[in-house]
């Protein structure tokens, strides 16, 4: 049996990441794979600590598999290593000052590591990606039209698409579907054919670092297809520090919804 932990959006919040790693270790079923779907960094210097932590897992921790997120993409664009030349999206969202803030936050030697990350990961029949098969900034939510979800799945021929852009945890199942298709060319007319959809899912895996004191992530078992969303509360607000995890193992910080 293999169990996966899938998370996104650490956004430079090391305390949140530590709390989630601790929660992963506490699972009754051991977690063999850890996927980080981008936005490990944000425009804060603490991102460096997160990168270091991701790159040096402890012996009892799964080795994280990481893909690029929106922030990683912006960083690469600033360093002239992106798929587009101009940081227009960064400026539109956060203003021109953010260019310098992000540039200063992440030291050059970290950029090479960010550059080495894949755009997305494909394991078994699962696409694991920050945005979607269309773009790192493509935000899939529980309200995204079904036909658009199906398109994102079919572009990579994935049965499961795990994404983190929205920061939400959701399970979006396309259970069944059909359409009648017929084609006329200059030389022939095909009789209408019923095309069926096989069941596919899009999973929003949550967000680790954005909300102080509360991280959400996803557990998945590819054999049973079982999905579990976890909410981890951490920090002083919960009456303990993450470092005290070892002293006070499970109780306080594993409120699950």
């Amino acid at each position: 049996m293999t169990n996966w932990a899938i998370l996104s959006g650490i956004e430079g919040n090391l305390a949140a990441y530590e709390a989630v790693l601790a929660d992963i270790k506490r699972q009754r079923q051991p977690i063999e794979e850890l996927y980080i779907l981008g936005d490990a960094i944000a425009a804060i210097p603490e991102s460096t600590n997160v990168i270091q932590r991701i790159r040096s897992p402890r012996p009892d921790e799964p080795v994280p598999q990481v893909c690029q997120g929106w922030w990683e993409e912006q960083l690469l664009i600033l360093h002239g290593l992106g798929r587009t030349g101009e940081p227009t999206e960064l400026i539109e969202r956060y203003g021109i000052e953010m260019v310098k803030t992000l540039w200063d936050a992440i030291p050059r030697e970290m950029v090479e590591w960010v550059r080495s990350l894949d755009f997305g990961l494909f394991e078994l029949d699962c696409l694991l990606i920050h945005g979607s098969s269309v773009d790192v900034g493509d935000e899939l939510t529980p309200d995204t039209p079904a036909i658009q979800m199906l398109d994102r799945l079919m572009r990579m021929d994935a049965n499961m698409l795990f994404c983190g852009r929205s920061g939400l945890t959701f399970q979006y199942e396309i259970q069944q579907g059909s359409v009648t298709s017929s084609i006329t060319t200059l030389d022939q007319v095909t009789t209408p054919q019923a095309i069926l959809v096989k069941p596919r899912q899009v999973i929003g895996v949550g967000n680790i670092g954005r909300i102080p004191g509360q991280a959400t992530y996803t557990l998945y078992n590819p054999y049973t297809n079982h999905i579990e969303f976890r909410t981890v509360r951490y920090g002083s607000g919960k009456g303990f520090q993450p470092l005290k995890d070892k002293l006070f193992p499970p109780l306080n910080n594993r409120l699950m919804t």
């Binding site: 798929r83 587009t84 269309v134 773009d135 529980p142 039209p145 079904a146 036909i147 658009q148 199906l150 398109d151 079919m154 572009r155 939400l168 945890t169 959701f170 399970q171 979006y172 199942e173 396309i174 259970q175 069944q176 579907g177 059909s178 359409v179 009648t180 298709s181 017929s182 084609i183 006329t184 060319t185 200059l186 030389d187 209408p192 095309i195 959809v197 959400t216 969303f229 909410t231 919804t257």
Partner: protein, 271 residues
Amino acid sequence: MKIAVMSCIHGNYEALNAVLSDIDDQNADKVYCLGDLVGYGPHPNAVVEMIRALDIPTCQGCWDEDIVEGLNSCECSYPSVLAEKRGKVAHDWTNQVIHPEVREYLAQLPLSLRDDNLCFVHGSPHNQHEYLMPEVDAFVAMERVLATGADILFCGHTHVPYVRSLDVGQLQIRVKLTGKSEPQNTSFSAPLKRIVNAGSVGEPRHGRPNATYVIYDNDTDQITLREVEYDYQKTCAAIIENGLPPVFAWRLSKGLEYAERADDPTHVCER
């Protein structure tokens, strides 16, 4: 009202003239053009001047974009490696002969046009370079039409005309959110949607050298694929005279291009 839609003229002035007079004979009330005015063929300036003179609403094709922007790193302007090699020669030639005002005109062409419940694009609504082949999965095809909000999506770029009808589309969805224990069941349905590929006026690839385009009659809701004979030998001769790769003349005379079979038709450029 009869609406004629054509695409992919590719600098073939002879073919354009033949199609325009067929459009006249068919008493079409309106004409739309889906781009690729230039590239491969020997008369890019004359073709653009004619389209402009007739004031035909036109969207920008992949070749029109590449002439304006310059070929950049992504090789996906071409369906295959072989096609790319040949395409580059044609690109350089076109780039040299094109008049500045023609380049300016190509630069300002819109990516899509709208007329009531009809939408016009070159490749797909998402990308000028995407090939909407008739084999594309029916739901992917449906998404392309729905993305425009129109009922009929007219496209070109594949150089082979077809009409695809997608009817009684439906999907059953269940969405579960954390915090809300009850999953929500919803369904989605779409009435008849169609994709109409206008083929190619100047560089047909349906297996015969004739120019192709389509006519849509919105009174009868009928779509007709038109195939028009013209003196393609004239264009072939001009291709060779102008020093363009002779293989373009050969394939024009056959109406086929094996190298143009896309290696990966669904590839979408990420540049």
